[in-house]
Amino acid sequence: MAVTLTERAAAHVQKFIAKRGQGVGLRLGVRTTGCSGLAYVLEYADEVKPEDLQFESHGTTVIIDPKSLAFIDGTELDFVREGLNEGFQFNNPNVKNECGCGESFNV
């Protein structure tokens, strides 16, 4: 059971947290919404709740609530550049189908 960041993603997360000035790590999760059922949560974490699970990846703390983990276990979060555009991408092995843009998905 784990979720990992690529080295590049971890470096960017650390840079963003430093710029933001606070944060104990990165919170990943899923919510039920969207055209295809589930949507990713990608947020700064200012606190860890007692039930949260924590992973270390390239020196960055990843925080996940136990309910979400089932849907994103094995995911690798990458940071990609497409021309001038840049951002994070979930490589989630649990996904059965997703909407065209990949913002929401089904398992």
Binding site: S36, Y44, V80
Partner: protein, 622 residues
């Protein structure tokens, strides 16, 4: 695959809901675009990594067209067709421009009503069109960087811009295909970039020394909103003056012979580089090779630079004193000082500002970017990507706005608490056959029925082409600007006839009134829903009665037997009786009964219609 950004805790946007909004600093010498990414305001570079876009557009011979660096590169050889610093001409007439720039500009000005225009090799261009080209480049850059269309932009303008200049800026944005969420004063944007809007209430100073202009603004922050108390400055003082001083120094120190224009320009370019180098070093080499082949090789140290620029720096302090006086505040009242403009990187400027205001200015953001960064934060917020708790609470709609529909019901178009400015449109249609006018009643409130809401305005849309009921498409658009002004426009889509009314919805409503209207809407939620449901079935019943009566009058004789007609007429009477009562289910049942009874009749009318359309025509002609 969309690329995701990190949100603030608990504020992940729903999929496809993230709105891409940008802040644009449309500057006199250069422009830039910024956005909030991963919850951090960042400027967006172009594909070469350049952040600043020179505000220069070239309309050359043979359709040569360039914006930014490429246009700037040809400025010297094609000055008449290379338009720089058009911001100075925005919303200005020829007389104004001639007064402030007595013949020192290479352009061929054309007088035109409202705003001066410039004749170029590619035709006459207005400052608005030129600005639109700059904005278009920034928009394209932003769309490439954010992976999609831009929802809206906040564009900054100098605090002293008047209505004509602001309107010209808005027009330029529209021409560039950008929706302006708001025009924001440049000093206010700078203060927002530093997060001063979340800081203690009080008075702040913004010191902006750019390439060619100096501006000082005194702002007061109350309840998260900035008010510009006073502005001042010098429209002919900036970093370029320092460059000229250094170039003059080089001519004297190097004992140079009289030089041509090209050499002078080379000296000025080198002067600028040396000046920038001296912001982080004690001494820098001044090295230029003249046209004659002779080298100029000198060394400039910070002490000399300071003596060269001392009186330029002093010149900025006089407007500062004046602005403080105009604002009626003391230096001691100033809570913070923000530096804007590349020239404020010079240590001598920072020192002078610190001494004048008796405190160290804020310098940790890039002074070239600070205005765009602040605009980006504002845009992020206005677009609905909330990142604060009680941000700008003043700028929301206190009560829903809507129009009256059949049955005395209110159709809400803009919901309560929507952030300003906002525009929403909805389509409506005619109720009767051949209806050529529509009366539009604008209302405010949370209740379902017209009688319980506040009436704001009435107006009429005339000239709707006669059509069957429900065929006309009338788009009613509500637009509330940043100042809370509501404009309602109704437009018939096929002919384009429009009617419009403007109102100020907050006028005459106290906080108590608003609170009472809200409380009523909660207390009466159940009644209102029942009333709405009843009114809806009544409206449906009316529509059905009208349609059936019209059909009977037209084709009743031809298509129905007497018994059939009597059966239908009996149901009409039953429905008309139920319609005046308040029993919702009775009305619905009577409606259903009538509509079932007329099914056959409707089918026969359809057949008859088709038959008459086809009669006498051969199969080939169809």
């Amino acid at each position: 695959m969309a690329l995701l950004q990190i949100s603030e805790p608990g504020q992940s946007t729903a999929p496809h809901q993230h709105r891409r909004a940008v802040g644009i600093d449309l500057g006199t010498t250069h422009s830039l675009v910024a956005t909030v990414r991963n919850s951090i305001a960042t400027v967006l570079p172009d594909e070469h990594g350049r952040v600043l876009l020179p505000s220069i557009v070239r309309y050359g011979q043979d359709g040569v067209f360039a914006v930014g660096v490429e246009a700037a590169a040809r400025q010297a050889e094609d000055p008449r067709n290379t338009l720089a610093s058009v911001k100075r001409f925005m919303g200005r007439g020829l007389a104004d421009v001639a007064k402030t720039h007595q013949g020192d500009l290479p352009y061929d000005f054309v007088d035109s009503p409202g705003m001066v225009q410039i004749r170029t090799a590619a035709g006459v261009k207005s400052p608005v069109e030129v600005s639109a080209e700059i904005l278009r480049v920034l928009r394209q850059r932003a769309e490439a960087s954010l992976g999609g269309e831009i929802t809206g932009a906040v564009i900054t303008v100098p605090a002293y811009f008047d209505d004509a200049q602001r309107q010209a800026t808005k027009d330029a944005a529209q021409l560039a295909g950008l929706e302006v969420l708001r025009l924001l004063n440049e000093p206010t944007a700078a203060a927002i970039a530093y997060g001063l809007d979340n800081a203690a209430e009080g008075v702040y100073a913004v010191y902006d020394l750019g390439g060619g202009t100096f501006d000082i603004s005194i702002l007061r922050l109350t309840k998260g909103v900035f008010e510009v108390l006073a502005t001042g400055g010098d429209s002919a003082l900036g970093g370029d003056d320092f460059d000229r001083r250094i170039a003059c120094w080089a001519i004297e120190a190097g004992q140079l012979p009289p030089l041509g224009a090209r050499d002078l320009r080379a000296l000025q370019v080198e002067a600028r580089e040396v000046k920038e180098a001296l912001s982080s070093r004690e001494a820098a080499r001044f090295h230029v090779k003249l046209q004659s082949g002779d080298p100029v090789d000198l060394t400039l140290d910070t002490a000399t630079l300071e003596s060269l620029g001392a009186n330029l720096v002093t010149k900025t302090l006089k407007p500062c004193r004046q602005a403080l006086r105009d604002a009626g505040v003391d230096i001691a009242d100033i809570k913070g000082v923000v530096l804007v403009g590349g020239s404020t990187r010079m240590p001598m400027v920072r020192a002078a500002v610190a001494e004048f205001f008796g405190q160290a200015p804020l310098t940790n953001l890039d002074p070239d970017q600070v205005v765009a960064l602040g605009a980006a934060r504002q845009a992020h917020l206005l677009a609905g990507n909330r990142s604060g708790d009680d941000w700008l609470l003043l700028d929301v709609i206190p009560l829903s706005l809507g129009i009256e529909t059949m049955g005395g019901l209110v159709e809400k178009i803009i919901p309560r608490n929507a952030t300003l400015p906002i525009a929403r449109a909805q389509e409506f249609t005619t109720f009767k056959d051949g209806q050529t006018a529509m009366r539009i009643h604008v209302l405010q409130g949370e209740r379902e029925r017209v009688d319980d809401c506040r009436s704001l305005a009435h107006f009429e849309l005339r000239g709707i082409p006669p059509m069957t009921a429900g065929a006309a498409r009338i788009k009613v658009e509500f637009e509330v600007d940043a100042d809370g002004l509501l404009a309602v426009t109704a437009r018939e889509q096929s002919t384009g006839v429009t009617a419009q009314v403007a109102v100020k919805p907050s006028y005459g409503l106290s906080d108590d009134d608003i609170a009472r209207m809200l409380r009523d809407s909660f207390d009466h939620a159940r009644d209102d829903l029942d009333a709405r449901a009843l009114a809806e079935v009544q409206v449906d019943a009316d529509r059905l009665l009208d349609a059936v009566r019209a059909a009977l009058a037209a084709d009743g004789e031809a298509l129905l037997s007497d018994t059939e007609r009597e059966a239908i007429e009996a149901r009409i009477v039953a429905l008309a009786e139920a319609r005046v009562g308040t029993d919702r289910s009775a009305v619905r049942q009577a409606s259903d009964a009538l509509s079932t009874a007329t099914d056959d009749f409707a089918a026969r009318r359809m057949d008859a219609g088709i038959r008459s359309a086809l009669a006498g025509r051969s199969i080939e002609s169809i």
